[in-house]
Amino acid sequence: MRYLTDRKRAVGMGSAKSGTAHFWAMKVSSVALLILVPLFVLTFGSILGAPYQEVLAYYQRPFPAIVAALTLIVGLEHFQSGAQVLIEDYVHGTAEKISIILVKCLAYGMMATGLFAIAKLAL
């Protein structure tokens, strides 16, 4: 038995103080995706299945290219934030830290790859 008060035991053991910012970022990106997702489904869905030359011409137009780029940026940002919470809930210790780093590498790697592809197609 250690003679510590409950307060003394709790000080310094709390959250990282970033919970509200994380919650708000998820909320803002989710509202953005409410607009972006239907637009992306509409644009991507209407060109999927078309021949190569038509796909090139389609993504040279500003609207489909900008919608695709924004959807990838906001969508993957939203994903890495949500996947982090998933890992924090089910994985603990060193595996938790490694998993969070890996999932962020995956999300930002995919984001960069997608943006490179869209830029190359558009220009």
Binding site: M1, S30, L48, Y59, L86, T113
Partner: protein
């Protein structure tokens, strides 16, 4: 003041303790669909990258995405996308502390399930 047990205490989310209900199943499905969407995103980004590099690469990626397996993944992704989107709307509603009573929560749950399938059918027919 007592030295509480800090070891083997139960940790959330207590998946094995509660009986599955509409509310809990629709909730966990929001998480599963959201995270599973990375597979569809991977296919879409591969397709875009292939289109931006060469006609040969495009033929491969386009072939995979339009194969029966690719179509299955895309169909599942469309459903997951609409389900997760409706689930997100439900969270935005709940964030205002409304709709949290049981009858409303059940109505929202069924709206989520039925709405996601309706939107999937509309998407497949329209595109």
């Amino acid at each position: 003041m007592a030295d509480v047990n800090r070891g083997n205490r139960p940790l959330s989310p207590h998946l094995t303790i509660y009986r599955p209900q509409l509310t809990s199943i629709t909730s966990i499905l929001v998480r599963i669909t959201g995270n599973a969407l990375i597979v569809g995103a991977f296919l879409v980004i591969w397709w875009l990258l292939a289109a931006s590099t060469s006609p040969e690469n495009f033929a491969i990626a386009d072939g995979v995405i339009r194969s029966w397996f690719g179509k299955l993944v895309m169909l599942g992704s469309i459903w997951a996308l609409w389900y997760h989107t409706l689930g997100g709307i439900r969270h935005l509603i709940w964030d205002n502390a409304v709709g949290l009573d049981l009858p409303t929560a059940y109505k929202l749950g069924w709206a989520l399930v039925i709405g996601s399938f309706v939107l999937t059918v509309i998407t497949v027919i329209a595109l």
